[in-house]
Subunit: 100 residues, 2 copies
């Protein structure tokens, strides 16, 4: 995705985890859009996936109604857990964009 | 979506919850595809969303490699909780299809 584009300017990624409150991720997105990003990708793995969907919803409904969900992809990621097992974690990426 | 199509034949929905094991939802999808469905939609709310992503991944990787993720949508749903509060739950729908 976005192979030839100037990634650093155009497309930013917010990694959504479970340790921080929802609004931290929402404000991270707002900061990036206000800083000139045209597209922001919310990326979450495993149990954080539902929070990433909620972040997108809250951002759109309560803060930035002009933001559109331009793409959603599902993927898997191989991770080695602490006890040495191989896990295949689901990954969700939600691309948010502001129409120019 | 699918306004004029014969919904009962073509497009089936699996509601993903949290009470049942993952493989129950995987086998539900397999049964529907084997029964002639061309498209199966996985629908999940709130905390079940991550499981729906995992169901899609497991189905594709371990059981039906010909299944494609044809569409993913995010939505919100207003729900009244047991103590009377209004909640806006995030909803994720993953449309799976077999190319004809």
């Amino acid at each position: 995705m976005g192979g030839l584009e100037p990634m650093s300017e155009e497309r930013k990624t917010v990694i959504v985890g479970q340790s921080k409150p929802l609004l931290n991720y929402v404000t991270a997105c707002i900061t990036m859009f206000n800083g000139g990003a045209h597209r922001v990708v919310l990326r979450a793995r495993g149990e954080a996936i539902n929070m990433s969907v909620e972040v997108a919803q809250v951002l759109k409904k309560r803060f930035m109604s002009n933001v559109q969900i331009s793409n959603i992809t599902i993927d898997g990621e191989n991770v080695t857990s602490r006890d040495g097992r191989q896990l295949n974690l689901p990954v969700l990426e939600i691309e948010l964009s502001i129409p120019q």
